[in-house]
């Protein structure tokens, strides 16, 4: 069924009796060409592009819970292509282009709102760094502009420039960046993949891998053994656990990132803002809630919930940056488990096990990567060749010393 205003009108007249399931609930087959472990944004996007770009639809996505129930449904919905380093820059640039065409591609409104990403700077040094980043973005073919503090007074008048602890020197605006409705992305890709014949198997947990002579031939699940020629792991928050089923150890440490949403308010924040004095970012969703967060809690955890010090830091940052929102009330808080790599950049690569591939280590930046990671992981799975824009996301870069360290903090996962 193709979605459109006409469908809505038609179904409205018939009391909604014509709506069809978004996806089937198939029983798993005995064997597939490719199994993707993880029914989140990346797994579903990969399945879609395998079918769409490579004509491979004998694919199963195995999701241990309900599809889209992991980090794709827990992030702060930011989409941007403002990375600094060669290796990241081209990947996220490709991703942003896919975002821009996503609704048409999937026939699903993921409500991408290109309202702009504004990064603030609070010292000459920070402004120099922003300039370096902005120049990289433009040389990549994306957009960036430097705003003076006077221009910021006009563009974002609610940002405190009266008595800030860290005065604002200026900002870098990335207009094509913005936000999207996270659940819709998962649902959109799931529906589109399902329509192309991919089997999405929910409530199917992978409990082991069938490996012999260094080659994977299938996975053990709570629904039995399912065979496959190739298996791709896309399990944010559980990457180390799933990889360890194949005896693999990774340069990953898992942490919790808390996020918050306020009650719905009439529009008051017109773009996404990232503060420069401390890690803090905020935007306003289409439903009116302020969506915001800050740094990870900084200790290794799988609890998917954080503690008060990190939460208080976020709230204090909010008040320091834009005291106008003091009376907005936090409605919900949650936490997602983020797989922090030792250089803060992701991994899309084969592993030491033939037939086993990895898409993981996305730290807290996996959401914006959804379409490109699906595109590139599908490319790797289908052709065994790395896609150009994901060339540098190798697992062996740590051993070889070709790190992609955006935050420049070294091998400390909680500082990325």
């Amino acid at each position: 069924m193709h979605y459109s205003a006409w469908q809505i009108f038609k179904n409205g007249l018939t009391g909604g009796s014509g709506w069809k399931p978004f996806w089937r609930t198939p029983e798993p087959k005995k064997k597939y060409d490719i199994i993707i472990i993880g029914g989140g944004g990346h797994g579903l996007a990969t399945a879609y592009y395998l079918a769409k770009n490579h004509g491979i639809n004998n694919v199963a996505v195995l999701e241990k819970g309900y599809l889209g129930g992991g980090n794709v449904g827990r992030n702060t919905t930011i989409v941007r292509a403002n990375y600094l380093l060669d290796g990241n820059s081209q990947f996220f640039s490709h991703s942003l282009k896919l975002w821009e065409g996503m609704e048409k591609e999937l026939n699903f409104n993921t409500m991408m709102s290109q309202r702009g990403i504004l990064s603030l700077g609070h010292s000459d040094g920070q402004m120099d760094s922003l300039a370096r980043r902005g120049n990289m973005m433009i040389s990549q073919g994306d957009d960036a502009e430097l705003l003076s503090k006077e221009q910021l007074k006009e563009f974002v008048p609610y940002v405190n420039q009266e008595d800030p602890r860290f005065p604002i020197y200026g900002g870098l605006l990335h207009k094509r960046g913005g936000t999207a409705r996270h659940d819709a992305v998962a649902w959109g890709y799931a529906r589109a993949a399902d329509r192309l014949g991919v089997d999405i198997i929910q409530n199917c947990e992978v409990t082991g891998m069938v490996i012999s002579n260094g080659t994977i031939t299938g996975v053990e699940t709570n629904k039995g053994i399912i065979k496959a020629d190739k298996v791709g792991m896309a399990v944010a928050g559980r990457t180390s656990q799933v990889a360890s089923m194949a005896g693999l150890k990774l340069p990953i440490e898992s942490h919790v990132l808390q996020a918050f949403v306020s009650e719905g308010l009439k529009p008051c924040i017109n773009c996404e803002i990232s503060w420069g004095a401390e890690l803090f970012y905020i935007s306003q969703s289409d439903k009116g809630g302020l969506v915001f967060g800050g740094d990870i809690d900084k200790y290794n955890t799988y609890a998917a919930r954080g503690n008060l010090p990190a939460m208080e830091n976020v709230m204090e940052a909010a008040m320091a940056l834009m005291p106008m929102i003091g009376k907005a009330k936090v409605l919900r808080s949650w936490g997602g488990i983020v797989d922090m790599t030792m250089d803060g950049s992701p991994i899309i690569d084969k592993t030491a096990i033939t037939g086993l591939y990895l898409d993981g280590g996305w730290c807290y930046g996996g959401f914006k990567a959804t379409p490109a990671s699906g595109w590139c992981f599908a490319h790797l799975l289908a052709t065994d060749i790395h896609h150009d824009v994901a060339e540098k996301f190798r697992l062996d870069r740590f051993e070889k010393g070709y790190l992609l360290d955006e935050e420049a903090t070294g091998a400390t996962p909680n500082l990325h």
Binding site: F22, T25, G73, N135, F166, W187, V330, A408, A411
Partner: protein
């Protein structure tokens, strides 16, 4: 943790006194009055105001549904101190004089809301309709559809100015925390309190007592509300008990930590002296008893959302606590005995109950009212407020006029807090509600109706029992507490998840989610409870699903044919109730966000009119303007020339200083520095490079041997914290065998640079000792006296001139700065600031964290030779990885513009002259820039691919952001005095 028995821990509390004081307030510009002790909701109801807001999607009229913090409908904005406080529940607002409130989410008025049109378009606005449309044409999404959706979104509005509420934060500690001061909580608190241990009793209401304030039965012969107040009074008088009313426990965290919000001065028209609007508490408790009671669930039937339809328990609250009769023609509908209690309470106050409708079949009749057993309500009429209901008994339909319908669907224990640690509640088939798993939160017991124990007597018994359990665990002796005589009835609930039939039946009143939406989501295969919730937005309104979650799960279970247990539930997360960002972020506003660190010369700098600049948390002077200088470059250029030709003084106290002592000091330093320190002679100084274990540069600085086993090392300002932590890590974790101690002395010593050709003359003059070149060659140390003050003199240079740094105890810092400057001025010198400091160091190719940005290696900055291969050091092995020695890496070079007039820009990238300025042609970037008055040109440091081998090459610098493209030449980073003769002379 020792608890201090018997110590007073009282806090003053505001308590309502008598009920007869009249209070005037406005709602939507109309003036009304209420009484002290009213909530805004009770006062509005007493004044016959039934419509208070509009629902989110369909803009249907909304009135008061509940009497508590779970209220989904009666949301207002309060105007106070000139600012709007949006989305406030009228049921929580303590009425105060001159309260100004307005309705929300309606235009142009509450009575005539234009967007009610949505209600008529509802067949087309079902669940998730926006995912299926608004996609074409593409540009319309950004320009039309989205802005319209956004402006319709949200309920309340914020004032566009900085929040002027006063927020505070505090910590509290106790042995036992009792959450909820209802029957269970009061008895639990009493049980714990009389043992003498520290007890905190918290309740979100402004009057403790819970349901006891809303019912009419007797406890030991007393009115239950009176009994509750007496118990509270007794508890308040105990020195080991802190009763915190108006305090909502928001969240449960690890280690017995709870977050809570106490409303203090919020409910007053002007700020009350010395009182914050609210306090955000962090309460740490060894044990907790959750006595949070239950929330009544609505019944789902067609058009069950009209103003005038209220929870039966709320009707009793308004009647018994506030003396408000919510309607003239009241009907009661329920599936349990609380419906009957409502009828009796109303009748006992002389209110006529037109009908009593009960879905159960075996019900006793009630006198003086029409009884409908085995019956349900299948529809209601409006148009704006409730005017009639339709009752179905078997095949018989009865329509009755009424203006108030009290509904009771059963109780949902308030177990939200128990699932904050990720333990999902369990469905109990016998009493048809979700209950907490035992010890879902470590050290927390649940008592009373929150634990599915619904009669008052049993709730009290439960409170005592649970309190005793935790007292046992604390090893505290406890007494037997007598449970008073009071009602002990089962409420006999027979669940009714929905009344079948066509037409929209509401689950979520605020977000307008109906059973129809759930049916649709099921049709579309969104059957998991999480999918259903996110797709329909059920439970995502400001009541956080308190009025809809369980009903929605019940309906979903019926639709899918699964049990409720299997359908499951979503997890609750903090906060239990919405809480202001300002309250949680108290102390973050304005300058309070982070401490300000000042050097000892700060006052001097201000006197000289030097503009301050933030360097991390420090304030440092940017330049020292002289009279007549209008532009900062004038001052900066002058200061650079002054240092190069005479002498300049600069406060460098902010750089990290670490004192290292002990027999193995040299072993430690050899291990953390790449170069050899153990060969450093007494009285000598060496430059040192430190790597991280991953082989990249961590920091650089100097190392001075000031005693046999005593060293002072310096770090950059930015990395001071990181380096001291690193040294402590080495000593305590990696090499506890090393016998050495380290301590930060950054703040203990004030340190000043004295730089320039006349530096030696100045230093010699102020020191008691003779300072000659022979005595103090470059990179040496001497202990000196300046007058009677002991000082440390280091001959080191960051400017490339003959220079020293002199260090005195911080208490002499201000005096030292003034002495140095006055002496310097005698020699045609003076103070210099950060801008000049930066120019001087760039001219000499000295790096800062602009160059060693965390990705640089020793080789990149031309210091590969500093890694002594004869010894191990942190980072030694990892620095040899191919990626770290790859010649294509960006290496430190100097940059000069080909055209002397051109300006180099920091952050610009560099490309081959004949190639497009695209990423694939990127050769590197500019890290630090300045105008060099010494060389009369703009100069810069940069990191360029294979830079060491490309001196002399011409490239182009392109800054896309600032539209600049110039030709530049790569040079050595040492622009001036490449032999270093000035610094050694």
């Amino acid at each position: 943790m020792q608890s201090l028995k018997g110590q007073r821990m009282k806090l003053k509390n505001l308590e309502p006194t008598n009920n007869s004081k009249k209070i005037y307030f406005t709602f939507d510009d109309k003036k009304y009055f209420g009484y002290l002790g009213d909530t805004l909701a009770s006062a509005l109801l007493r004044n016959g105001v039934k419509i208070i807001g509009r629902s989110f999607k369909y803009h249907r009229p909304r009135g008061v549904l509940t009497a508590g913090s779970e209220e989904p409908n009666a949301l207002v904005s309060i105007l106070r101190n000139g600012q709007i406080n949006p989305n406030i529940k009228a049921t929580e607002v303590e009425l105060y004089d001159n309260l100004i409130s307005t309705s929300q989410n309606r235009w142009p008025s509450l009575k005539f809301d234009f967007l009610r049109i949505n209600d008529f378009l509802s067949p087309f606005l079902g669940a998730g309709f926006y995912y299926k449309t608004f996609m074409w044409p593409k540009s319309f999404w950004e320009k039309l559809y989205e802005p319209v959706i956004r402006s319709a979104a949200g309920l309340g509005k914020l004032s566009p100015v900085a929040d002027n509420s006063v927020y505070e934060k505090a910590f509290a500690f106790c042995d036992v925390l009792i959450i909820g001061a209802g029957p269970a909580g009061l008895l639990a608190a009493k049980t714990a309190a009389i043992t003498g241990i520290q007890v905190i009793l918290a309740d979100e209401d402004f009057v403790g007592g819970g349901r006891l304030n809303s019912e009419t039965f007797k406890i030991d012969g007393q009115e239950c509300s009176q009994w509750a107040q007496n118990e509270l009074l007794k508890l308040r008088e105990m020195p080991n008990v802190r009763v915190m009313t108006r305090t909502t426990i928001l969240g449960v965290y690890d280690g017995g930590t709870y977050s809570a919000l106490e409303k203090v001065g919020e409910y007053s028209s002007e700020a009350i002296d010395h009182l914050p609007d609210s306090i955000f508490w962090r309460i740490v408790s060894k044990k907790t008893v959750l006595c949070s009671g239950s929330i009544e669930r609505p019944i789902v039937f067609k058009n069950n959302d009209r103003p005038g339809i209220m929870m039966a328990s709320a009707v009793r609250t308004f009647l018994n606590r506030f003396g408000v009769i919510p309607g003239k023609k009241i009907i009661v509908f329920g599936n349990n005995d609380d419906a009957r209690r409502t009828v009796f309470d109303l009748q006992s106050k002389g209110v006529e109950v037109i009908a009593y409708v009960d879905s159960r079949d075996k019900v006793e009749k009630i006198k003086n009212t029409r009884c409908f057993a085995n019956s349900v309500i299948v529809n209601t009429n409006g148009p704006m407020t409730l005017s009639a209901v339709t009752i179905r008994t078997g095949n018989t339909i009865t329509k009755l006029k009424c203006d108030c319908l009290a509904i009771s669907g059963g109780w949902n224990p308030s177990i939200h807090l128990t699932s904050h640690m990720n333990n999902k509640p369990i469905w109990n088939e016998t009493i048809n509600c979700f209950l907490s798993r035992p010890r879902a939160v470590p050290n927390m017991e649940v008592a009373g109706s929150a634990n599915g124990v619904f009669s008052t007597k049993m709730a009290m018994t439960s409170g005592v029992f649970r309190a005793r359990e935790i007292l046992k665990e604390l090893g505290v002796k406890f007494q037997n507490i007598r449970v008073p005589e009071t009602e002990n009835e089962d409420y006999n609930c027979e669940p009714l998840w929905q009344v079948d039939g066509k037409g929209r039946a509401w689950l979520d009143f605020q977000n307008d989610v109906t059973v129809k939406d759930l049916k649709q989501s099921q049709k579309e295969n969104m059957t998991s409870v999480e999918h259903m919730k996110r797709y329909t937005t059920q439970g995502m309104a400001t009541d956080q699903g308190k009025n809809s979650n369980v009903n929605a799960i019940g309906v979903m279970a019926e639709l899918t044919g699964q049990t409720i247990s299997l359908t499951g539930t979503t997890t609750f997360r903090p906060p239990f109730s919405p809480v202001a960002i300002g309250a949680l972020g108290a102390g973050g506003d304005g300058k309070r966000f982070a401490p300000i660190r000042k050097t000892t010369s700060h006052n001097f700098n201000e006197e000289r009119g030097s503009p301050n600049i933030e360097a991390g948390l420090w304030m440092r002077p940017n330049w020292f303007p002289k009279q007549g200088e209008l532009h900062w470059r004038e001052s900066c250029d002058r200061e650079v020339n002054m240092v190069r030709n005479f002498v300049g003084i600069c406060d460098v106290s902010t750089l990290g200083k670490i004192d290292v002592q002990g027999p193995d000091s040299a072993i430690l330093l050899d291990f953390v520095y790449t170069n050899k320190i153990s060969s450093l002679m007494l009285g000598k100084i060496r430059y040192g490079l430190m790597l991280r274990e991953d082989g990249h540069v961590m920091d650089d600085g100097t190392c001075a041997r000031i005693g046999q086993q005593h060293y002072i090392i310096t770090t950059t300002t930015a990395a001071a914290g990181q380096v001291i932590r690193h040294l402590e890590f080495v000593l305590q974790v990696l090499r506890p065998d090393i016998d050495a101690q380290v301590i930060s002395v950054t703040e203990q010593w004030a340190q000043f640079a004295i730089a320039g050709p006349k530096a030696r003359k100045l230093v010699d003059k102020i020191c008691e000792q003779e300072i000659s070149n022979a005595q103090m060659p470059f990179m040496s140390f001497l202990e000196v006296n300046v007058g009677e003050v002991a000082a440390r003199l280091f001959r080191i240079s960051f400017s490339g001139e003959h220079a020293y740094e002199i260090s005195v105890a911080a208490s002499y810092g201000d005096a030292m700065m003034r002495l140095l400057v006055s002496e310097a001025e005698l020699l045609e010198g003076g103070p210099y600031g950060m801008e000049a400091l930066n120019v001087l160091r760039i001219e000499k190719g000295f790096i800062t964290h602009a160059e060693i940005d965390g990705r640089a290696t020793a080789q990149d900055i031309g210091m590969k030779k500093m890694i002594n291969e004869g010894k191990d050091c942190i980072g030694q092995v990892s620095s040899l990885r191919p990626g770290l020695v790859d010649l294509e890496r960006e290496q430190l070079v100097g940059i000069k513009p080909i055209n002397k007039e051109d300006v180099i820009l920091a952050g610009a990238h560099v490309y081959p002259v004949d190639k497009n300025p695209k990423r694939i042609n990127d050769q590197g970037h500019i890290t630090s820039v300045c105008y060099s008055p010494t060389l009369n040109t703009s100069i810069a440091l940069a990191l360029i691919k294979n830079g060491h081998k490309r001196h002399g090459e011409t490239l182009k610098m392109v800054d896309h952001l600032r539209n600049s493209e110039i030709l530049v030449e790569l040079t050595s980073p040492i622009f001036f005095d490449s032999t270093g003769s000035r610094v050694r002379g």
